[in-house]
Symmetry: C3
Subunit: 468 residues, 3 copies
């Protein structure tokens, strides 16, 4: 028995199916462009083996362990590292068995799709994972991880990755990236400039972060002009490690376009402890516009990932810290929020701003109309909870009629689970091909066009949008 | 001619159809679990015949008469009871004819689906209802209602209902439930604790309701601690009549988690006429958290039904009162609204909180991410305007990828139309099986898993979530 | 090769397909009722030839040129007329070539569908438009435009239009309509009363517009009663040119129902320069209710088109003016917003209010529940970005289950692109028939009913809702 059906996601209707399959066949072997994600550059710098099945698949991936937690399994029993010193399970086999016992919880989810894809296509497993097969799985994966062809660089090559972007904070020295460049390995791993910790006044340690930014760059980061210069310097540094984009995770999509005097006053405010929540929000908004203006000069693509209410549960945050599955989307406005930035740079065709959303309702109402008007805007692929078959389908159905395909930016896997990369790109390729086949079968696209668009969505649009 | 196609809702695609039908065949005869609804316990206590076709199908069901009203038929002509003494039609045959003449208005709606199901499967009618057939229908239904097998208890058994929960206010003496228990009939009819009238400071007669609550429980319901004790006592009383859940219909999903001192102060405020709308809202929010804490002790499941703007039209409310089809949904926020309660009890796996929504946009953006993280949360089935084929389909498509099946709570019919119960559960079973078949045919679920999930969605999840 | 597949939009599933096709065949030749749109009455008054391909298809249609602009083509190069005197391209062939070169951007959009429909069915072209075929296209269209059968009146007849409503401002003298009536031509072109410029205090030239309204009507438009009388007079004047409806494009759906004293005070405020944004908004809301009350007397249908944030980009507005593709939808509330008006006239079955939306999320949550309750309300068809196959599909799926078909108002093309009219109505007919076929094939509608509903949706509902 196969864990993954050969024609999965390609529809069951025999009329449509043949074309969907043919379209997919035409793109399935194209190299992977992964312009946005959270893999650890250390893997490729050191090229050491992944420690064990639990640390490969369960404990670092909040997509995965949150499902078990939501059904009553404790994070501690799953070995999720605590930050307050409370005891957690450390036996990877026990963690794996707990995971295996609850694997049915993933039925119908994209996690089940990519996990099964990895089990079958990376680790050659072909029996369903459950309590009975837990040890078989563990032993097989554990054994494979010791083999040379399962080292990070070997997997990178086997996954046919042409470019992989990681994401580093503004204060990162990019030493792992340096180590990759110093090695003989030819894999193209680049960085992305993510300055949230020195842009968001509410970020833990903001004041200290600004001081560090000053030290690193030799700029006076307590004056507005010095602060902006420091950003420009870091952007150049990141560019020297291949960065073609910056990325910004804000609670809202708010932008501001204050005069430089007003921006300077606001900056002085956020340096003090009297900065209000409103001022912090305004400052983040101003910085998006500043970053967009820097893009006009240095060409870095601006990615905006707004709308996540981070660390929703107080207890979980105190015990386990950030990124533990308790980031919950909220309603996100784009139309009024982006206007200041778009008045500043939106009509400049040399700027590229890629918008993401966790609020699907904005696709047809706001994002497609905006991207279908402003030359600077492109829509990023469905993000987070929508990185899935239905999510991609709804995205295409909600946006294509208004902004077409050519205002979108191809696929991002946005993952920290290395083995999921080929699986996620495969899901995107299949979902897009199924959608294209449905356009052809309903007379909305000619067949020859569908092949071109399939190639564009899989490969060309990502390279072009991210300037790769 | 049949009114109801044998393979209705099971898709038309031949590939998918076979499996959908097989899945449905495997669950169609399972007993009905109806853990939330508005049937009148008096029916089963007295076991008297239903008065006539109009009072069985038209006048008490605002789902039904609102459609005719929306197209220009007057409520008075439909015999909807007025509260201001204005004249209404009293001849049930005339009402029935008016209903029959306008029955085409229901084309494409779930009402047409369940009404036709009842006509055919309960009353053996097989010609379409319209002006010409109105009298045939009336005479047939009227004749059947006189037969012993059409008495409420007989229908309950025939409908294969394993458990039926009704809903009673906190001040209800549950005398009808007592009478059922005192009878020799074995039907399992249980109650649900619905304390809106003593929790919502804006409810008609709130002050008097509190006094009654004090008299019934012997507690001083004008002190915060006495008021809470009174709730605890009523919850115990309801539990003694089988209640396993409380239910709360609030305009928003707002919760609060004030200190007990602040809660006491707020309580004193709401006892007075100076209580503002904001304070009333905060108090309702605080009480959700208090109820959740009581759940930690007594195990009652907490159901939250937020987001309906009740009695939208002033004239209709004055003339005809509550529940006349003029309750209109509004946008509902969950992420910020539920945080105080979830910080208090959300990580406790012994608590069950079932969330409903009338704002579909919250499913993929807020509710599935919350239910896919918090152990205390489960998603209730699509409610009210979404208790339908498309509603269920969109619910599954919007939630499954994020929180799976096992953070959902099975089906509720939520009806006051007794004859619609088997029809509504049948629609849910068919819709779910069609969805599962589509997962299998697109390679997202294995066939063996689909059979297990079909059984879970039909039977096990409702029993488990409601602790039945 | 054909540009338009004969069975487009009618699904590919063989089961469903036969019925969808048969339903479509039964309605495809019905006359077009176009009760809301933006054609220029001058075309039919003068009956002169359309100037050239670029001015027929590209420069006046912001649906079309915005897509090219969004991908980096400048408005000036596309010949979009500037209002600040900046230079624009004036060679129609150059504009056409630019359009042709970028025609692939429309893949998957409704624009591609109607453009190809026009190319093939109006201009007998059957090769795809692209850079290579640009001149062939230009020459063919240019040649045809010189022929008598391509004059506006001839096309009107050929398109089988029974009634076409244009839209004119309150100050328009309707001279073109007079000229049509004075001619021997029998085409039924009627007007619509669109008073935004004299109702919205924030409209350019509001004060001057009020003065003109006074001059035209002989009323004192600086008193509340005179102002209302002036509206009543203009409505009568528009009625004498066939108007059966008024239309209102407001930023929100807000209504007010102030006492006449308070309304008078507010009116005096909006006459002054001290009027705040809030007061302007309240005044627009009050005027919707006043217009609804006028409807009770004169029978004009009230159309509300809310929710567009007009002229989103400052630079584009300054350079090119209104209606340049930078009108972006925003979230729109209806439930609270419409309550004042609905309390005033909502239960009056002699009034017809047709609601449109650019916020799809309101369909299932707000609009269908409202239309399924209030006799005065009908839902207009999907508007603007949703005038499309997927838009219509989602509209039907989101509304039919709650308010049925008979609370909807048939199709509007809402276009200023004359050649798109038959194509747009054809898309609506096909999309509706495909939807009806899916209802039949899933057992939700009987086949005989589907034929009746197909006819209703195509023809009868529009005539009835607009009182044509």
């Amino acid at each position: 028995m196969l864990l993954t059906a050969p024609d999965r996601l390609l529809f069951s209707d025999p009329n449509q199916h043949g074309l969907a399959r043919d379209l997919y066949d035409s793109v399935k072997s194209l190299p992977i462009i992964s312009p946005h994600g959270h893999c650890d550059p250390k893997w490729f710098a050191e090229n050491k083996r992944f420690p064990n099945p639990a640390e490969l698949f369960v404990t670092p991936d909040h997509y995965v362990f949150r499902m078990l937690v939501s059904c009553g399994v404790s994070m501690a029993d799953l070995g999720v590292p605590s930050i307050d010193g409370s005891a957690i399970e450390t036996d990877p086999r026990k963690i794996w068995r707990l995971f295996a016992k609850h694997f049915h919880l993933f039925r119908g989810t994209p996690s089940s799709l990519w996990l099964n894809h990895s089990f079958e296509h990376v680790f050659d497993l072909d029996i369903p994972l459950n309590a009975e097969t837990a040890d078989v799985y563990y032993d097989r994966i554990e054994a494979k991880l010791s083999e040379a062809e399962f080292l990070p660089r070997a997997l990178f090559d086997r996954f046919n990755i042409e470019t992989l972007a990681t994401t580093e904070g503004a204060l990162d020295d990019l030493a792992w990236h340096q180590q990759i460049r110093d090695s003989s390995w030819a894999g193209n791993v680049i960085t992305t400039y993510r300055p949230d910790a020195v842009v968001d006044p509410e970020y833990e340690g903001f004041a200290q972060n600004l001081r560090e930014l000053g030290q690193i760059t030799g700029e006076d980061t307590h004056t507005w002009s010095g602060y902006l210069k420091a950003h420009r310097a870091r952007r150049q540094y990141f560019k020297s490690f291949g960065a073609t984009a910056s990325d910004h995770g804000h609670p809202t999509a708010r932008t501001e376009n204050l005069s430089q005097q007003d921006a300077e006053k606001l900056f002085q405010k956020v340096l003090t402890s009297e900065c209000t929540a409103e001022e912090a929000d305004a400052f983040r908004g101003q910085m998006l516009t500043e970053m967009a203006r820097m893009s006009q000069d240095d060409g870095l693509v601006l990615q905006i990932h707004p709308g996540s209410r981070r660390n929703h549960n107080a207890t979980v945050f105190e015990t386990f810290g950030r990124d533990k599955g308790f980031d919950i989307p909220g309603r996100t406005d784009y139309v009024a929020a982006l206007k200041p930035m778009l008045d500043a740079v939106g009509m400049d065709p040399t700027v590229t701003i890629i918008l993401f959303t966790l609020d699907e309702t904005s696709y047809s109402r706001e994002l497609a109309p905006l991207a279908g008007a402003y030359p600077a805007l492109k829509l990023g692929p469905p993000w987070w909870f929508f990185d899935s078959y239905e999510g991609i389908k709804r995205f295409r159905e909600a946006t294509t009629e208004t902004c077409g395909f050519y205002n979108t930016a191809g696929f991002n896997d946005d993952t920290r689970a290395f083995c999921s990369i080929p699986a996620r790109h495969d899901v995107a390729r299949r979902s897009d091909c199924a959608y294209l086949a449905s356009l052809v079968s309903t007379g909305r696209l000619r067949e020859a066009e569908a092949y071109e668009v399939a190639h564009d969505l899989t490969y060309r649009l990502a390279k072009q949008a991210y300037r790769l």
